[in-house]
């Protein structure tokens, strides 16, 4: 059976809001690719020192650096939007019987992210 499908071609270019939305959604492509880069690194780590060295050398190529720079920007934008909508995705947060304001939930998310990222960096540097 063939049903009518409303044509939607190019909808995401019609409005800046849709464009930002689409950009956010496609951050998932970079996140998935990054997970696969790490998985491949783990495969090479299991294979031995020479294979692992080859994986590390591939990370230092211009293409890989460009990919990671793009992934960094898009995932950063994903993080921003993730905290921005958190007051809608979480159940109502109440403190002493009062609803926590949306801005406070956003601020708490961004602050936790900054703090955890700093701890991660310090852990890596230690």
């Amino acid at each position: 059976m063939k049903t009518y499908m409303r044509p939607m071609a190019g909808w995401w270019r019609r409005n800046p809001f849709y464009l930002w939305y689409t950009l956010r959604e496609w951050s998932a492509f970079f996140l998935t690719a990054y997970a696969l880069v790490l998985l491949f690194g783990l495969v090479q780590l299991v294979q031995g020192e020479a294979q692992y060295a080859a994986w590390r050398a591939s990370l230092a190529t211009p293409g890989a650096l460009l990919f990671h720079a793009a992934a960094l920007l898009l995932v950063l934008y994903h993080a921003w939007t993730w905290f921005k909508v958190m007051h809608k995705t979480l159940p109502f947060v109440r403190v002493a019987g009062r609803r926590v304001p949306d801005r406070a939930i956003f601020a708490a998310g961004v602050l936790s992210s900054a703090l955890l990222s700093l701890l991660l960096l310090l852990w890596v540097l230690a």
Partner: protein, 117 residues
């Protein structure tokens, strides 16, 4: 009524979204930019010995598995919807394939973390 599997995959999507929002940018910066360039973080940070030690440590195993598995579940779930939005309604079979791919990647990571000792 048949129970929906939505809550499981939605939770994995949510967990992946949260972990990637909290530490994703910093992780990408460290492993993809800082260490390969020797910028801010020394190159030896990801030496064979240090990464092997991380993968052989219980906490390290959990960290690696969590990052790879949850990023895959979050990313592939969203890519499925992205494809729908640009005019490729793939249907339930494909959705199962996307989730299956994420599960396969997670299981592969778990297997590798076990054989590494």
């Amino acid at each position: 009524m048949k129970r929906s599997n939505r809550p499981i995959f939605w939770s994995l999507f949510g967990a992946g979204g949260m972990v990637s929002a909290l530490v994703g940018p910093m992780l990408i910066f460290i492993t993809g930019i800082a260490v390969p360039l020797g910028l801010l973080v020394p190159r030896e940070t990801m030496s064979y010995e240090r990464m092997l030690a991380l993968a052989q440590n219980g906490f390290g195993k959990l960290f690696i598995l969590g990052v790879i598995g949850l990023f895959l579940f979050h990313g592939l779930h969203r890519i499925y919807h992205c494809l729908h939005e640009v005019g490729l309604p793939l249907g339930h079979g494909w959705m199962a394939a996307f989730h299956g791919l994420a599960a396969a990647g997670t299981l592969a990571a778990a297997y590798l973390l076990i054989v590494i000792g």
